[in-house]
């Protein structure tokens, strides 16, 4: 049944999910009666010129500001970050500004810089001759009311789902992102939502973890410590994660592959997100 998970997507309640639902169901059913097979193949992919990758966040938490700078790698190389050191990184809110310090290779942080909702932040990164800038506005915090585990029958199997209750404010567009940890392990899946279908409603949003079936680690079991971070982001950051999940995760059955829509200006990949962050933790019953 690994096809199930293969065709699942990395989002939750979104129309795109429906397409994946369709595909996954048909393929599951077909694979039940037919032969389908999967194998690793060798594809010659040409290397290309390296590009800088900037992953920058500012949060409403002290010490939450962080900028990671790296470079793209060829497909055949390993999956570690090709970190970039020696960059000049600063953030400002229009009146105050701060320089971030390189505390680990390619990792630039500030212990004091603290974001507040409603403020627009500006990022400036200088790597040699290359200058990268971006702006992002921190939206209002929307209260994460509770986190609990809900059970649902999915393709004949009872799954435990981390579920978050919150109230979406009416009449304004809101964008959310969730990060899920099971026993301190970060689940490699993007959970980005907007309130297009749910504006002004009480939400009970479940995070569907859809990974390889053999990969039982990612599935929540009794006794697991489940932690969820709830982020509110602006529209551009939502767009970045939406397009990333749709077209840059290597799943060729979804949209035409493309780089995610970035809010960075300058020759770099990545994003700059000013967001609020809340956390809750629960032990799976």
């Amino acid at each position: 049944m690994d096809l199930l998970n293969r065709y699942s997507n990395k989002q939750n309640i979104n129309m795109k999910r429906i397409d994946n639902y369709i595909w996954m169901s048909v393929l599951i059913i077909l694979s039940g009666i037919l032969f389908s097979c999967e194998k690793e193949i060798d594809i010659r992919l040409d290397g290309v010129e390296k590009r800088y990758v900037v992953e920058a966040v500012v949060t409403d938490e002290e010490g939450g500001s962080k900028v990671l700078i790296s470079q793209t790698k060829d497909f055949d190389e390993d999956n570690t970050r090709a970190t970039v050191s020696g960059a000049i990184v600063s953030m400002s809110d229009g009146t105050n500004s701060i320089d971030l310090e390189e505390t680990a290779p390619g990792e630039y942080t500030s212990p004091t810089w603290l974001g507040t909702p409603g403020t627009t932040y500006h990022l400036r990164v200088q790597i040699g001759d290359e200058q990268i800038t971006a702006s992002s506005t921190m939206p209002d915090l929307i209260r994460m009311d509770s986190l609990y585990i809900r059970e649902e029958l999915i393709f004949g199997e009872i799954q435990k789902l981390a579920t978050i209750d919150f109230m979406d404010p009416f009449g304004v567009p809101n964008y959310y992102r969730f990060v899920l940890y099971v026993n301190d392990r970060k689940i490699k899946q993007i959970f980005a939502f907007n309130d297009e279908l749910t504006d002004g409603n009480a939400n009970s949003l479940s995070l569907y973890v859809l990974t390889e079936a053999e990969d039982d680690e990612d599935k929540i079991k009794s006794g697991d410590v489940v932690r969820v971070e709830m982020l509110t982001t602006d529209a551009a950051v939502y767009k970045y994660f939406f397009s990333l999940a749709n077209s840059a995760t290597g799943d060729s059955n979804s949209a035409t592959p493309a780089n995610p829509v970035s809010n960075l200006r300058g020759n770099a990949l990545g994003y700059f997100s000013a967001h609020t962050i809340q956390r809750k933790e629960v032990v799976a019953p």
């Binding site: 369709i22 048909v26 793209t72 190389e77 279908l197 290597g250 994003y271």
Partner: protein, 772 residues
């Protein structure tokens, strides 16, 4: 005024119809055993004058008064011949005998003879007898899969009935079933087509040189015609296959005057799902059914009434969490009227609907999504035999489209709100006229014009969008108010020159426009792909195609060789912006789109063996199709997804003896153009892929061999039956269905490419019977 051009054909005709002492020979050609009208039968007089029956079996031929030998022929029927004395107009009703019944010896009569003399090119006709023998996936006989074995027509994917014609998109094919548009001609996400071959009489595909009566799509026209129903005897036929059961009942309501036909098909592999012990399989639903029905009535010698209808539904359900139903409904009421021996008229009233409904029942998300496209159409066409050198068709076509892009209805506890996206209304009109002129014994010309007018109507909000895809202005229109009308003049020209008895050359130019666009973000077809009409921002797609062809009969007509080459340009082609949200709830789909142009060219070879124990064909296409869209691939030309350089199909059928017919086909094509990553990086602790070039890579080459055998069981007077066996992908080639990039399961520090293949060694058996 552009309209004055429409008068030119009439001017030509007046020059050429002055001859005197002419009489008109007119009438119909039917099958003797069934009373079905025969389309495309050749009616020839002394070998000097000839014509073909039209889509209703009617013909009209002008000849000088005198005594002649009349010959009427059609493939797989016994040729009829008679002496006629024509001193005045003659009306004839010819009935042809089924050759298979008349002859004892084994003859496989293969496909329709291609007419060397007529200017029509880029056309393929499918012989339903051939469809019976070509082995297909799971034994499900399918006309759409058989035409994909012809040059220039390519399948949309492994086992898929969707297709690309001469480099066009899958939405650029006009698919007609008894004149009604079928918006989604596939079942089960494309693995099977909506056409139940038991109910089909004729299928013609135009890849180029479309006659002026057709319009509205850029690439091709697939004109599928249903059987009328036997007006001589009751007939029951049916079949049991690996995945479906079929039943076809037809017979006279009043012998010789009226008849009916009902044909149904339903898959039953969902029954097998229930047998599975795996609960992730056995509580799912997956099935489809089709129902075709037709009634026809002779109302005297001059009038004929036909009613035909089609209903097809697919159902996909995952437990009670998710459900999706989709399907087409069409209905056509047609009235043939013969004004006089030279003027034939057909009036059609047509209804067509495609819709889907999705039900979600998951946690606090309980809602339904509904979407549809619906057409009401009126078509009037005249066919006028304007002398022995001119055949004229003219008429008009008017369609009212209503598109419901999406309606979300939630239940009360659901966290989802009701959403009603604005309905979109449009009115599509066309006037057309075309004349086929026999300029000399060797030279024939078809020249015609189609004037199409597409009007976008209120009510609704329409937008002005800037280059970045932002809405800069919103215009509100009231119900029935005209938002915009696009007028397009589409010339249709074709000429043929018959060099000798066995060879000819032809050339054509055709312009097509398209105002309904299928917006599909996913690389695979889905029933939820969205049809949108042109708007003030989305312009009509326009294509211009030039084609040249050489046609030759070889070895005393046992073989034919056709070579066609084409060059096609396409304007206002549509693609998505990167990161587009296809399902955005707001109505401004324009904010997610980019526009550009396309070009496609190629050469197609077809060598066919038409008669004898061994029949079949070899087809080879060498082609290229590209797009250039600002905002994609840095504005440079790139290969369209369906660009396949080489495409080969070999189809063979061999009649071993009276009981056994063997068949095989082999296909090979260059892998699709596809976007693969140029590199990778880490975002949010996950491997993310870096892309530089659109469709810069190729899927692995595709090839496959299918084998089939048909065993004719003992025949009785009123009963005959056969068993068909097939093996799809006989040597088990693992053709890539998708290729995905991911972290290796064994070593997360590496990334790997994984290939998924479907359909290896799929055997099938089916049983078919006929009872009369």
């Amino acid at each position: 005024m552009k309209l004055t051009w429409l008068l030119i054909p009439i001017f030509f005709i007046s020059i050429h119809s002055y001859a005197q002492n002419k009489v008109t020979l007119s009438g119909t050609v039917r099958s003797k055993s069934k009373g079905e009208t025969i389309i495309g039968a050749t009616v020839s007089v002394d070998g000097k004058f000839s014509t073909k029956t039209n889509e209703y079996g009617f013909f009209s031929l002008q000849i000088p008064a005198g005594t002649y030998q009349l010959v009427v022929s059609y493939v797989s029927f016994t040729t009829y011949s008679d002496t006629i004395r024509a001193s005045g107009d003659v009306v004839l009703h010819v009935r042809l005998d089924d050759a298979a019944q008349a002859l004892d010896e084994v003859v496989i009569s293969s496909s329709q003879e291609r007419s060397l003399g007529t200017p029509q090119m880029g056309v393929e006709q499918v012989d339903l007898q051939e469809v019976k023998h070509v082995p297909v996936l799971m034994g499900e006989r399918d006309v759409l899969k058989v035409i994909q074995l012809l040059p220039g027509i390519k399948p949309a994917g492994d086992g898929n009935s969707g297709m690309f014609v001469r480099g066009g998109g899958a939405d650029q094919n006009l698919i007609l079933l008894d004149e009604a548009t079928v918006y989604n001609a596939s079942h089960l996400l494309g693995f099977f087509s909506t056409f139940n071959s038991d109910a089909i009489k004729d299928m013609t595909v135009y890849k180029g040189g479309m006659p002026a009566q057709y319009g509205g799509r850029l690439s091709s026209v697939l004109d599928v015609k249903m059987n009328d129903g036997n007006n001589q005897d009751f007939n029951v036929s049916g079949g049991l296959g690996l995945i479906s059961a079929k039943l076809n009942v037809e017979g006279p309501i009043q012998k010789d005057k009226s008849s009916f036909l009902v044909s149904g098909r339903r898959t039953y592999f969902d029954m097998f799902l229930k047998l599975s012990s795996d609960s992730s399989i056995n509580n799912n639903q997956l099935y489809f059914y089709d129902l075709n029905a037709k009634l026809n009535f002779h109302l005297g010698d001059k009038d004929h009434l036909y009613f035909s209808g089609y209903l097809g539904k697919d159902r996909l359900g995952v437990g009670d969490v998710f459900g999706l139903d989709w399907g087409n409904t069409t209905g056509t009421l047609r009235w043939n009227h013969i004004f006089n021996s030279r003027l034939f008229s057909n009036t059609s009233m047509i209804y067509s609907n495609y819709d889907y409904n999705i039900g979600i029942n998951s946690g606090t998300n309980k809602f339904n999504i509904y979407s549809s496209i619906e057409d009401y159409q009126l078509k009037q066409e005249f066919q006028w035999n304007a002398g022995n050198r001119n055949n004229v068709r003219f008429g008009l076509n008017s369609t009212y489209h209503t598109i419901r892009p999406g309606e979300v209805v939630a239940n009360e506890e659901s966290s989802v709100n009701d959403i009603f996206m604005q309905k979109r209304y449009s009115w599509e009109n066309a006037l057309f006229a075309t004349d086929t002129w026999k300029a000399s014994d060797k030279l024939q010309l078809t020249y015609g014009l189609r004037l199409s007018a597409f009007s976008i109507l209120g009510e609704g909000d329409f937008y002005d969008v800037d280059g970045e895809g932002r809405v800069i202005d919103t215009m509100r229109y009231d119900r029935g108010e005209f938002v915009k009308t696009y007028l397009n003049l589409e010339p249709r020209l074709a000429a043929s020159y018959q060099m000798n008895d066995y060879s000819s050359v032809k050339g054509s130019y055709v312009r097509n426009t398209q105002n309904l666009h299928l917006i599909a973000n996913s690389t695979a077809a889905s029933p939820t792909d969205k049809w949108i009409a042109s708007t003030n921002v989305v312009k009509p797609e326009v294509s211009d195609q030039f084609a040249l062809g050489y046609y030759r009969n070889l070895a005393g007509n046992r073989y034919e060789l056709n070579v066609e080459t084409y060059y096609k340009t396409m304007q206002n082609q549509i693609d998505y912006r990167d990161g587009a949200d296809v399902y955005n709830g707001n109505n401004a789909i324009e904010t997610e789109l980019l526009y550009g142009k396309g070009r496609a060219y190629g050469i197609e070879w077809l060598l066919r063996k038409k008669s004898g124990r061994l029949s079949g064909w070899i087809s080879y296409t060498l082609s290229k199709t590209e797009r250039q869209i600002d905002g994609i691939n840095n504005g440079e030309w790139y290969n369209a997804r369906q660009d396949r350089t080489h495409d080969i199909a070999i189809v063979a059928m061999y009649q071993l003896n009276k009981k056994w017919t063997l068949s095989a086909n082999w296909v090979y094509y260059t892998g699709d153009a596809i976007t693969f990553p140029a590199g990778k990086y880490i975002i949010d602790d996950q491997t993310t892929y870096y892309y530089t070039q659109r469709n810069g890579y190729r899927m692995p080459d595709y090839h496959r061999l299918d084998l089939g055998a048909t065993w004719q069981l003992k025949q009785k007077k009123r009963w005959s039956s056969e068993l068909s066996f097939s093996l799809y992908n006989a040597y088990g080639r693992e053709n890539a269905y998708v290729i995905e990039f991911q972290d290796s399961k064994d070593d997360p520090n590496r990334t790997v490419a994984n290939q998924i293949s479907l359909f290896r060694f799929i055997p099938s058996v089916s049983y078919n019977f006929k009872f009369k």
